[in-house]
Amino acid sequence: MKIQLRFFASVREALGVADEAVQLPDSIVTVGDVRSWLRARGGDWAETLAEGRALRMACNHEMTGAGTRLTEGCEVAFFPPVTGG
């Protein structure tokens, strides 16, 4: 499956990437799977996306949990808790 990744604010800066199109292995089926899969890149990825870090995830522009299933071409975003207003 091919999906689009987006990173914002401190997560974007830590990873040095704002967006990226990726081809996922068949075993990656949820938003949480994507997080673990990216963590396996090591270095800043392992640290920034570590379990226990305050991180929010969105799928197709909606805040979502780790169990949300991916769909072809979906946009998955990782970012810190929001601080607007």
Partner: protein, 158 residues
């Protein structure tokens, strides 16, 4: 119902006047303006930059207004949120709600702001004497949502 995400400043009187004149049935218009402070947690702030997630931002603000409409009889609502570079005393956000009577206007305006603080994808980066750093989310913002939940939805540990 209008949502605007923009770098430009806004004029409260112009926006409030337009809402007022478009809704003669609304006897109450509650407006909230969020402003950049020059001090955050005791540290002097010289500048602020706001980042957002284009697409998701508008969608989340629309959804928050829809939730408010489901709870209160809202004649009209307007949210303007700025992004980009801002300075202390600059306006960040405007929430304006027009209703028939004041109770609903106050409540809906506060509800929209409380949800915006925890659900709309904006991030603040402050510049202080030590350099620029991302602002941490505050527990008080998450707790502010509790008052809008029904007793069954409330959590004691968040």
């Amino acid at each position: 119902m209008t949502v605007k995400v923009q770098t430009e400043d806004f004029d409260l009187s112009t926006e409030a006047g337009a809402l007022r004149r478009a809704h003669p049935e609304a006897g109450a218009l509650a407006c909230f303006v969020g402003v950049v402070r020059d001090l955050n947690q005791g540290v002097a702030v010289s500048a602020m930059e706001l980042e957002h997630y284009p697409g998701m931002t508008e969608k989340s603000l629309d959804a928050i207004i829809e939730q408010a409409r489901a709870r209160w009889p809202i004649a009209d609502a307007l949210v303007i949120h700025r992004y980009g570079k801002l300075a202390p005393t600059d306006q960040i956000v405007l929430v304006a709600v027009a209703t028939a009577h004041r109770g609903d206007a106050f409540a809906a305006c506060e509800f929209i702001m409380d949800y915006l603080k925890t659900a709309a994808p904006f991030w603040k980066k402050e510049t202080t004497a030590d350099g620029a750093h991302w602002v941490d989310a505050r527990d008080t913002d998450a707790r502010a949502l509790e008052k809008w939940k029904s007793p069954g939805e409330q959590t004691s540990n968040k």
